[in-house]
Amino acid sequence: MKKLYDIVIIGAGIAGSAIARELSRYDLKIALLEKEADAAFGVSKANSGIVHAGFHSAPGMVKSRLCVRGNYLYGELKDELDLPFERKGELMIARGAEDEEKLEFFLKQGNQLGVPDLKIVRGEELRRLEPQLSDEITAALYAPSAGVINPYETVYRFVQNAMQNGVEFFPDSEVVAVAEGIVETTEQTFETKYIINAAGLNAAKIAEMAGLHTFDIKPRKGQEYLLDRKASALVNHVIFPLPSKTSKGILVIPTLDGTVMIGPSAEDGRDDDTTTNDVFDAILASTRTIIPSITPKLLISAFAGVRPVATGDDFIIGPTGVKGFINVAGIQSPGLTAAPAIAEAVVAILKKNGDLLLNKKSDFIAYVPRHPKARTMGKEDLSRSVALDPHFGKLVCRCEHVSEAEIRQAVREGASTLDGIKLRTRAGMGRCQGGFCTYRILEIMAEELGVPMTELTKKGANSALLAKDLKNDR
């Protein structure tokens, strides 16, 4: 059976989900398709989690404008969706006079783009902001509007709120064919007026399915390393070196979870998620020139993400030669930052086309509080939560203080894999990395989903976690 939609969005990363949430304000029938078992399993899961201030790229590029606007919009979204976002501020550092001239350049560029409250800080003021900074650092460009965000939680907030407002979400649905007004997945066929191609690394492939050969996507891998909470005493702001041609350099990032992240690398042509020792050594060495007190002993985890870099090195957002097919492609850094502005841009394109009635819903739910988390609740709130749901009284993940209630909530909200639980709740992301809690989480998942334990996966198809049930298998 074919289904009729106004809009089909391909890809539930930060771009696709922000678009879905923004469009859910209007009276439209919308489908959000994702090939993986859950949203946020693509690029949007593995990045630095920075909402950049926006002084990095040249005026005139699409990404520059959308970055500054996106940064602003996160302020509003934080209130509406209770997003895990905090404006910690960015510092771009300089060592000596030559570097400081470059800071002046970025100051001017930022001002031109409308980045608020930029200034250059030195001496005492700089040390007050960042006491552990290496002595060699003489000045920094300070951007207080920059922040850190939990990228995957943000995707889940967008998807969840979009669904509350009527968007249909289809996980495990890989798009295999596209034509004017038609999207075919491995599961079913969608008929639709508009198709939005937000397929991240696969955006060029999807465009080709529609017969468009206008751009290429090249992968650019980045490795990131997570340090123990102990390191959080060492940094207060996101700290950048001066950028190179391909990347913003190796950063030191105080995450929202209280850990510190260092990275990313920029490895052109690599599209795998492997981490390697040589890159770790380079990242560590570079980090120690900024904060010398960071040591390899603090390492708790590592991961890699891949930036989808389009021909021309800019975002490609707009209508195409195929009627109703809109590209949201090449969303490399700062795509996370820009996502809310990308969503606005898509609405503007639809408005301009004029063939879709964009009526605002009267019953749009804009404000959604986050589910309570045992980790951040005070004793009294926690006691109240336990009274309402005794599952709050059982801490499953001892390192991150995640309660059984939160795990069950995550499954009910759509988490069907261990990684999905982890990204939604942080269970298994702490010091023990799941050593203690994995088994209990699997038990709860099996119970909630009503499937045998041997069918549970880490991240969907072919990633089964258990090989044999000794009690029931022969």
Partner: protein, 406 residues
Amino acid sequence: MTDKPVVIVGGGPAGLIAATAAAEQGANVILVDREKHAGGILNQCIHTGFGLAFYKEELTGPEFAERAAASALVKGVKFMNETSVLSVSGKTVSVINEHGVSDIDAGAVVLCTGCRERPRGALHIPGTRPAGVYTAGLAQKLVNIAGFLPGKRIVILGSGDIGLIMARRLTLEGAEVLAVVEVMPAPGGLRRNIVQCLDDFGIPLYLSHTVTDIRGKNRVEGVTIAKVDEKFNPVEGTSFDLDCDTLLLSVGLIPENEIAETAGAEIDPASNGMLVDENLMTTVDGVFGCGNALHVHNLVDDLAVEAAQAGKNAALYAAGHVFAPCTIPVVNDGAFGNVVPARVSGTQPAVIRFRVRRPQKGAAVSVGTFSKRFAHLQPNTMESVTVPADAFTDKKEAVLCLNNTL
């Protein structure tokens, strides 16, 4: 004199034995554990090898746990199961369970929170991130408690005791263990476990080797193994691949001290254990520590002695006893991996527990005027000396020295 309870945090063997010892002193004892059944890590250690010294009988882990729990019960210890301790502040213990959050006003606290396993990230093994990479202890729980095989073709990285024990368990339950890979030139686990867990089943042990790559996008498909040089760097041309669906990590245990941190107890940055004095009191007055949370023990029997001392002292403290001030720091001369306690009083005999960094034959361990010779000392085995009070002649510091004249 106070009738405030002694609160024991953690119901593994350390907690059970500390609780029993405190109750034997007449204290009112509450033991808090997050699990439904007390016993801690022992419930998943279904192999034998426990209790030879303490119960004069060779027991399995669950059997040891059952006996320890029964003694605690007989002595009147009150069990608060399925309850997690959130934090300790002063001597107030905040707990959470299905009834809500509450505070217990304790006369003394003993932290027996055990240890955690070193995860993959801390090791930094390169490669992909598929399903099928587990710590050995998690695999132990999956097999022995839950009844699931995590995989069918298994490579184990690290020759710690849990890894060795799991090599045998998995083989007996029908999986194929292809290799145990150890980066050091000597195994991390006990010699007997090499014999009865690997040799008995013909499982190869690769010393001075490591895993240099993990393959597989969704589930582990294989690993690459290579020989390492003295600096632990892979030697070119020595690598080989094994096709497997699982990689188990048995690369060390780290004392688990989140609760000690909330109490403000000082933690030794090198071992991650609490810094305690000869009475096993942490740097926070009235808060004691013992078991694997203090330093990782090989043998539950050694741990039992330490735990009993901590429990007894906690009860004495709660009853108003004042211990002689411990002002003499115990200093490691560098030959030891870690040394417990960190401070002594010099007014009573003190038990000093240690591990050597490198294997020693016929070495003497000395403190002040005291000295004891050991035929063998192994880094993988904890040893102890009981130093008489009058041996602490230097009141500024007590240096633990290793003298090997052979």
